[in-house]
Homo-oligomer: 413 residues x 2
């Protein structure tokens, strides 16, 4: 039987009781005859406390760029890895814990946001061959100078996928606090349905559109290395959602899921000169201020000489963005700035859009029927996003979920 | 200027505020022109929590004998080392944290109670030469198989002394929650006096007699490697007590200090056959049950054929000791067991006893004057210990502190 990688997030190992629960998921795969590598996060809250300690003692700018920062914040996974290995052993399942540096997982020296360069597999392969479960600390690795590094937030998912890729695992199960990927947020749409399969591309679009199930980085890595990824929960035995290549989806849905983000604010610059270099003039200062810009639309005015430019930033960046634009008013040359923080983004995602027409039209009609005004529209090959007034977001999600028939079960994969 | 090792215990680094306080002690030595190696414990309470987690998840006997246990419980020092290094750096003092395995500090593979075999000094010497403070995790090291080990309780003191010895440090300052070694417990005897100097031998006897200032193991190591050890507090700038070789004491006190332990229980086996092998018959079963026996006295009866054997164990071991002795009643052959848990041990320690007579006599007379009965007496070359009824212990300490004139300041060293 093959090798399975199981990754348990912070909520799944939040207490010693939950660690005992996690051990039963490992035991199940062992009974099924698999070799198992487990990747663990820190107990939820622990890494935040450690980061809090760092802020308390240090006045350094970008303190996370120092190796000592990573030595501190990597300690949480060390605890859970050791505890789970001890738990498994006391259940009669041979196991040992591996800190990232013991594997070793080699990374760049970009402390606080290191990238994995290479995972050595010899030591762990030997241990697995001796019948031992390998419990590896997520989120961390080591530089060639033997300094501990961390991979940045959500890094444990990345660790798990990278390990699954390095070992050619049959499957990589990401255990989290939700039991899979849904057609949309079930807290808002009661008949939202758990998807059995979703393509990597769809998952990436859903994640960038606001779905918080998996880190974009780990999905990209799974896609690039053909890792069969499953999102599931440690709080039940139920299967979750499996991420597959688009060509492995039996039937491609026009729309697979609806994602949304309330963390949007709109800025419009009116009567900007429609000249070459105007986009650079607007977005350069925002990039310099480390502000991510999301949706961008530009309309020409009838005379073709002036244009209105609209874009969105996160609500938290709005004030900073406005002051950066004010500071460059002369250079950009706009008549007025309009802003609106009461907006939200709604996205429909589906690989079937490539071949099915009418998805956008159906969205526009459905929203119009409900009297919901569309402020901005952007599209990609498998996604349509609209910006609407924030107070309409639940209504819009429910209406579109019905319109696209997302509650109906379709077997695929 | 020379190299100083500073060791900060759990109470000295218990909070981020205290870590900031600790950094000022490091800064002071740097300003004085020293190179500094700092050894840190975990924040107080952290290691206990980690041990609690281990007990929660594992049903293994002697769980501390597993490598994964040490991976878990060693994480606390990693946090404080990183935090202190970051703190120092943000004060403009170049510093880096070193986990035991990064030094490396090589140890045996006796997990949970490993012994240091070798400390490599090359990496840290280079770092010190570059003007960096080295902040090293106490309590831990690594086996040749690259598994993390811990040294057992109080191991951070041992780490500090071993590091001071390996680097030939000018001095090793142990910062703790008391400001030095006192003539006796100042909570009981108001005019107890802080000692400027004490010999290693006296410190060892005081520690084994109940004084809880330093771990016996670290004092022995300091003595064997001629490490000049200072006990002081991180809560003030005051100098503490310096441990020196006996020959470096200018004036040798008859009595340097009084120690006591309430954690004593007496067992007497009466009418035991006075035959060869009787001690082995009594103490073998106790050793098998992992019970430490402290004071032992044996009296012959007038006819020379029977004897009474009295000894002490800790109060916590009393029940276990009694049942072990009951189980071997036949083999030992005693008439009755008598027990008394309301006893305490009081010890007078001083290297001057070697040359001054009358110390014991003065103790017996003083106790007699106060009407305090002596149950057991044991002596070593520089110590006299008596077992008395526990309720008299404060009275006895005060009377003897006066009788020996311990409140009077004597300059020495």
């Amino acid at each position: 039987m093959g090798l399975i990688v199981q990754k348990f997030g912070g909520t799944s190992v939040a207490t010693t009781e939950r660690i005992r629960n996690v051990s039963s998921h490992v035991a199940r795969e062992i009974r099924a005859g698999h070799q198992v590598i487990v990747v663990v996060s820190a107990m939820s809250g622990v890494t935040d406390s450690l980061v809090g300690y760092v802020r308390d003692v240090s006045l350094l700018d970008e303190v996370e760029a120092y190796a000592d920062h990573d030595l501190v914040v990597s300690s949480g996974e060390q605890v859970t890895a050791g505890l789970l290995a001890l738990r498994l052993r006391s259940m009669g399942i041979p196991a040992r814990a591996w800190a990232g540096w013991q594997v070793p997982i080699w990374t760049t020296d970009a402390y606080g946001k290191a990238r994995i360069e290479e995972i050595e597999t010899d030591n762990i392969r030997k241990s697995l061959a001796n019948g031992r479960v390998a419990v590896i600390t997520g989120f961390q690795g080591m530089t060639r100078e033997q300094r501990i590094t961390t991979l940045g937030r959500g890094g444990s998912d990345t660790s798990a996928v990278a390990i699954a890729a390095a070992f050619g695992a049959e499957r990589c199960d990401i255990y989290t606090d939700v039991d899979g990927v849904y057609t949309t947020d079930p807290r808002i749409v009661k008949n939202a349905r758990k998807l059995d399969y979703v393509s990597y591309e769809e998952m990436l679009e859903l994640a960038s559109a606001g779905a918080k199930v998996l880190q974009t980085r780990s999905v990209e890595m799974a896609m690039n290395h053909h890792v069969r990824l499953q999102v599931r929960t440690s709080f039940s035995e139920e299967a979750g959602t499996i991420l597959v290549k688009e060509e492995d989806l039996m039937e491609k849905q026009r729309v697979t899921g609806l994602a949304y983000s309330r963390d949007e604010a709109r800025i419009t610059l009116s009567n900007v000169d429609d000249r070459p270099g105007i986009s650079a003039a607007i977005f350069g200062p925002l990039a310099d201020a480390n502000i991510n810009v999301d949706m961008i639309v530009q309309n020409v005015t009838p005379d073709g000489k002036k244009t209105d430019v609209t874009f969105t930033v996160t609500k938290g960046d709005l004030a900073l963005a406005l002051s950066a634009l004010e500071a460059h008013r002369e250079k950009i040359g706009y008549q007025a700035i309009h802003q609106d923080a009461n907006v939200a983004k709604l996205s429909a995602v589906g690989v079937g859009m490539r071949s099915h027409a009418g998805v956008a039209q159906e969205m526009f009609r459905t929203l119009a029927e409900k009297g919901i005004n569309i402020i901005v529209i952007t599209t990609s090959e498998i996604k349509i996003s609209v910006l609407i007034e924030e107070s309409y977001i639940e209504l819009a999600l429910r209406a579109l979920h019905d319109a696209y028939g997302l509650h109906a079960v379709v077997e695929k994969g």
